[in-house]
Symmetry: C2
Amino acid sequence: MTRQLSRRSVFEALLHRSPISRADLAKVTGLSKQTMSEVVDTFEQQGLVRRVGRTSGNVGRTAVLYELSPEGGHVLGIDLGARRLTVALAEIGGRVLAEADEPTDGRGGAWVLDQIARLSDRLARDNHTHPSRIRSIVLATPGVVNPKTGSIEMAPNISGLDHLNVVGLLGEKLGHPVVFENDINLALLGEIWHGCAQNLANVAFLALGSGVGLGLYVNGELVRGENGAAGEIGYLPIGGDPLQAESRVQGCLEYQLGAAGIVRRFGEAGGSPVDSAKQVFELAQSGDARAIAVVGETARLAALAAATVVATVDPQLLVLGGSIGARPDFADQVARALVQLAPRPVEIRTSLLGARAGVVGAVSVALRRLHDEFFGVAELASALPLPPPAQRHAPQ
Amino acid sequence: MTRQLSRRSVFEALLHRSPISRADLAKVTGLSKQTMSEVVDTFEQQGLVRRVGRTSGNVGRTAVLYELSPEGGHVLGIDLGARRLTVALAEIGGRVLAEADEPTDGRGGAWVLDQIARLSDRLARDNHTHPSRIRSIVLATPGVVNPKTGSIEMAPNISGLDHLNVVGLLGEKLGHPVVFENDINLALLGEIWHGCAQNLANVAFLALGSGVGLGLYVNGELVRGENGAAGEIGYLPIGGDPLQAESRVQGCLEYQLGAAGIVRRFGEAGGSPVDSAKQVFELAQSGDARAIAVVGETARLAALAAATVVATVDPQLLVLGGSIGARPDFADQVARALVQLAPRPVEIRTSLLGARAGVVGAVSVALRRLHDEFFGVAELASALPLPPPAQRHAPQ
DNA sequence: TTCTATTTATTCGGACGCTTGACGAATCAA
DNA sequence: TTGATTCGTCAAGCGTCCGAATAAATAGAA
């Protein structure tokens, strides 16, 4: 029990300061040299740690340096988008070994699952890792992921996936259980781990692309909501009559702010025919007056959504992401509009990782789960619960 | 270190199952009878625990029963409202011993601080507790409380308090440091501890009274925001033009939905002169058509705010509180309007504790802080942090 | 009443994990 | 070569926990 705590703090020190000697580990963790040698020895026997050289140049005896060994375990992050499939492989120490991506198999359904398995397998073998060594897998997917069951409640925009038991089938194909999480939530975690929101505890991630979505990170924790539906801001009563038919079906804000809404509004404004929101933005940059107006209105709506989030959860930073939100010209307009709307100034940044955010976030969660599997202190960490109002008297 | 964990789990068992014998404690906690006797003995010596009788009627030797002793410590919860001052005294085991309230001293400033000290002192002495025995004090106040400094950033609606170092002065007067927290947040925690939201982890508390405010409880934790300004939904861009002058100063939603806004709208609708929002609601109940319309519009605005919260954080339960929000007739109208607006049905309840919610929540936080002071595992509980992207190599 | 089964409570011995201090080993600098 | 310094191991001791044995107290059966 107390050994578990020692092992945990040694592992933590190894995560952040490798390569490191046993003597230094003892100083950092506060444990004795004796205990340290014992712990490191068991780590070495388990393959969690390996020798990596000796110190030199210092006065005194040289020390053996240790670092976390890739033998300790590998993790897989997968971003399953409607257009693109991305997979990343990392080792227990946090180093991302390789990333690969392909267009998502257009035939959908089981073909996509096969594609994921094939790509993951190739990635593992190309990096001298047998797929069976992978000890944690997290998959980013659009749609609502129920936090209790882990199942997908709203199928992603991929045909034929909604009838399949995706969690079970994919776990079987990959030889290890797969944890699902909403892609926007994972993009947010990606930005927090390796992106523009590092070391912050209160961050909101506004994703504007084909749809609109929000990721919330509060008190250093992801907000999923009771049904995993937190951040479904497509349904915010902004930008139109929330009782309208379109608003009921698709969500009031999404109807205006989604890519389809932008294209539609550009058409209604008499703009030349376009078939993607991207073209509207490009027209605006080239000076098309109608496009400029539509983009301005789009930024105003996004700022309204941002102001809503700022007033509700008071984040330290607002990250703009998604294929539309990450455009720097657009982000500037949103920031300017937000100054007028928000009760207090809030910093805005555009996504640093872009399309990679989701897969990086998936890797970060997969890593965290692996670490917790080895060194978790689940029941220890729980807060002392207060007594209920009706004192239960133990029947004697 | 490991003893601390044992002590902690024994205390937890005592909190929830007292009176209880040492033998039963051993069964519940999984510790040995031997260890249990040691721990309980030290608790008894520290005055944390006392004998309270023996078992009888069972076969076998009788057991000595123990319970948490009030000698272990008392806590104070204080709700400082603009109109009313409420103080509650509880003991370490969670029992609320007494509550008292008075109209807030209208002279404001230092008089109010004196009043708090006097009322607290009386409450302690009336319950055979010397004020010096009080080991944790939490005060509920309107306004934004900075979560880092603990200071009040927006002074409550009490004259003369904004120039004073309230935290320091009050701590001195009461002989123990005082922790401040937003009154709506504490009302929410009150409902979660003893009210209508017991044992839930995702709750939103919509407070409608002279102002509008929101309390958020997510993942079993209070959401304060980076600056303590989470839940400042008076600034939601709902119910009017958010760029208007009134919206900028007071908040767009608050301008319409606050008590003053209700009275104003009733006047604009040609209603008979009233001087409080309460009268508008009473007129509506007695059949006044204009009042009915104004109340209906008010409910619609509240439902829009609620829909915003539901779409953003997906709570399990929405509690309506505050002098206006807790009216059952009004809550029904809000619930009906929300069905049309929210993407998914969400349960709504009205506050069970009413005006007492704030002080009950203050007691709950004071208790939790006392428990953590004795049995906290702060650094143990922290999650394993992931390594930063740039691996720091220890300079050797 | 006496005896037995049962439960509570204490005592004792042993195991585990951690620390301290001493000591040998390895290295750099003079 | 010598001394200072640091690394790593060994041995001893301490705190905490557990399990087994034992004593104490009680209800129910004989």
